[in-house]
């Protein structure tokens, strides 16, 4: 079976859902004729035409607002906000309009929309094109936040996100776009379900996005030291699948959460808090592996050590386990 590239998985998911459901439309900056700045959406415009796939002004607030208004009146918009860093701009519409519609309307209707963005550091893009906005949005009831780590999950989760009746924020890590992997076994991957991607007994590493392959590589390094690591891919940060994490921690008694972002206010810290609240008796140790509390630096000499990596994760585990 041929391997699937992450960016192709994204493109195919959108194409298949546009084909399957007449209400799905896709728009954003440079997504149609140019095919996306990360080349994630080529050929969609040629295949489906202006009515279904179109380029827009650089107006993130209008994009999210238009997606909201369209979603509550019968369409299923998929929108690209080019970089996750730009997700400060459409925040009012996403947080105050889309996220609250189902509840505040007393369940008259919901806002089925997907906002996709490229996220993450390591590309020498500097402080304003390298951030991950998952934690900015994680505390908002009514939003789903999806963070795939593999091509198969990218496809299956994006298809689920487009079919979901709620607003979904979908993150695509830049350093994953060129990753290839097996195609998905099932057509969709459910939102809100974490998965154990490596079984182990000594420690649980939890992550999302690029952190998952980094954690798996760290687990290989640690295996050489006789440390048997379990790795969990959260896949969705809201709703958060705490059950899968608790089940793992009951076995390993140690938990480290790897987040490409600062510890303060991050999803990793929040996860540890929830695990401690539910299962303090199971825990011998918990900690986060995160970035410094500074913006993302530009110079390769600074950016590389700033980010969690397989080596830094393995070092952290060795130091912690003594």
């Amino acid at each position: 079976m041929s391997e699937l590239e992450f960016r192709t998985a994204v493109r195919d998911a959108i194409a298949e859902e546009i084909e399957r459901d007449d209400s799905v439309i896709f728009f954003g900056e440079d997504v149609a004729a140019p095919g996306g700045v990360f080349k994630a959406t080529p050929e969609l415009h040629d295949r489906f035409g202006d009515e279904r796939v179109f380029d827009t002004p650089i107006s993130e607030l209008a994009l999210a607002g238009a997606a909201f208004g369209a979603a509550v009146t019968g369409l299923r918009p998929v929108v690209e906000i080019m970089f996750g860093d730009f997700m400060g701009l459409p925040m009012d519409s996403l947080v105050n309009q889309s996220a609250k519609f189902w509840y505040v309307s007393n369940e008259q209707g919901s806002a089925p929309l997907v906002i996709r963005s490229a996220v993450g550091a390591g590309g020498r893009f500097g402080a304003m094109h390298s951030q991950i906005h998952a934690s900015w949005y994680q505390g908002v009831p009514g939003l789903k936040i999806v963070c795939p780590s593999s091509p198969a999950d990218a496809k299956g989760l994006l298809k689920s996100a487009i079919r979901d009746d709620n607003p979904v924020i979908f993150l695509e890590h830049k350093r994953l776009y060129s990753v290839k992997g097996p195609p998905p076994e099932d057509e969709t991957v459910p939102l809100g379900a974490a998965t154990v991607v490596r079984k182990g007994t000594d420690l649980t590493l939890v992550s999302a996005l690029k952190g998952v392959p980094d954690a798996l590589a760290a687990a290989d390094l640690l295996a050489a030291d006789g440390i048997d690591v379990e790795v969990i891919d959260l896949r969705t940060l809201r709703p958060l699948d705490l059950v899968t994490v608790l089940r793992s921690v009951a076995k390993t008694n140690r938990l480290a959460a790897v987040e490409e972002g600062p510890r303060t206010g991050g999803w990793a810290s929040g996860l540890l808090g929830a695990v401690a609240e539910e299962a303090l008796h199971d825990l011998d140790d918990v900690w986060t592996i995160t970035t410094d509390e500074t913006p993302v630096p530009y110079s390769p000499a600074l950016e590389d050590p700033f980010l969690p990596s397989s080596d830094s994760i393995a070092d952290s585990v060795r130091a912690r386990l003594g």
Binding site: I25, F54, T56, P57, S59, L61, A62, L63, A64, G65, A66, A67, F68, G69, A70, A71, V72, T73, G74, L75, P77, D92, S93, N96, Q97, K100, F101, W102, Y103, V104, S105, N106, E107, Q108, G109, S110, P141, G142, K144, D165, N166, P239
Partner: protein, 328 residues
């Protein structure tokens, strides 16, 4: 309110009696706002509320030209937007009072009413939000043969939503009418001190968008402008910006005594009360005094029934309220 299915465009060529229903709807809004004012002072409407008395001709004139299945988006001063589009006063009043029978079950309150059954995609507590909601609804409308209208204040014309969405709607030729209710004040601040150029309708020229400045206290003037804009939208020619000059009789919100108004300003506007103007116009058109009195009495009775039902309705029960974060 009974809308003639084939409302004539400019001028109102239908029988004068057909104008009674829009007048009744304006009166309903006025009475509703008076009741909310009273109930707020009695402690039965909670938090805050923004009354639209004085501005009734704008939403009623616009909605006169809309079909029941067209979309509107309103503001935090949105009671009139909802009532003009067809929301029943009883569930609306119940919502203001936080009751289980409210149009949103008591979850929304005064600033955030949603009534999809009547095409109200929402009232937005944050300035400018309605502009985006209607722009998006117009994306759907384009396929559905419908039109979307956004109501917003003069303050919203200085918001990012205004510029981004007017440009977006124009480049996509969306069937949307942008209706600015210029009531001269953004909260407590005079519009002309914070609005460069002072000409909101004139801003449309920058987008090559048709626009008009309208006497927002004259129901027929609003209706005429709406007729052209709605026709333009429905025929695929894209959006229009209407700047409707009007005035709110109360302050910005319930905590605002409006002491910043220059002496005599309120009185000058009260002399052009949109309800008085509409009533005189009906008489000029040949509608009988007894017909006007009949609809006034009918509207009063409808409002009394609505308020009576609302004040005796139950509050939501937190023990049985089954809120779900997500639609499944």
């Amino acid at each position: 309110m009974a809308r003639p299915e084939t409302a004539s465009r400019v001028g109102g060529a239908e029988a004068p009696a057909a104008c009674l229903a829009p007048y009744g709807r304006m009166l309903l809004i006025r009475m509703f706002e008076r009741e909310m004012h009273r109930l707020f002072l009695e402690g039965k409407v909670h938090g805050t509320t923004h009354l639209s008395a004085g501005q009734e001709a704008v939403p009623v004139g616009i909605c006169w030209e809309l079909r029941p299945d067209d979309y509107v988006a309103g503001t935090y001063r949105g009671h009139g937007h909802a009532l003009a589009k067809g929301t029943d006063p009883e569930p609306l009043a119940s919502e203001m009072l936080g009751r289980a029978t409210g149009v949103c079950g008591g979850r929304a309150g005064s600033m955030n009413v949603i009534d999809l059954e009547h095409g109200l995609v929402g009232c937005f507590g944050i300035v400018g939000g309605s502009i985006a909601a209607a722009t998006g609804a117009a994306l759907s409308s384009k396929r559905q043969g419908r039109v979307a209208a956004a109501f917003f204040g003069d303050g919203a014309a200085n918001h990012g939503y205004f510029h981004e969405c007017l440009n977006f709607a124009q480049v996509l030729r969306l069937p949307v009418v942008f209706v600015c209710e210029n009531n001269l004040y953004g909260e407590f601040t005079p519009m002309d001190t914070v609005t460069a150029g002072g000409d909101i309708a004139g801003r449309a020229a920058g987008y090559a968008m048709p626009s008009a400045t309208v006497d927002g206290n004259d129901l027929w003037a609003v209706r005429a402008a709406a007729g052209e804009a709605v026709e333009r939208a429905r025929s695929g020619e894209g959006p229009t910006l209407l700047e409707c000059s009007t005035y709110r009789h109360y302050g910005h919100s319930k905590s605002d005594p409006a002491k910043y108004r220059p002496e005599g300003e309120l009185e000058r506007w009260l002399a052009r009360d949109p309800l008085d103007l509409a009533r005189s116009r009906l008489l000029e058109l040949g509608v009988g005094e007894h017909e006007i009195k009949a609809i006034e009495e009918e509207t009063r009775a409808q409002m009394d029934r609505a308020i009576e039902a609302a004040v005796s309705a139950p509050y939501p029960d937190p023990d049985t309220e089954r809120a779900s974060e997500f639609r499944s």
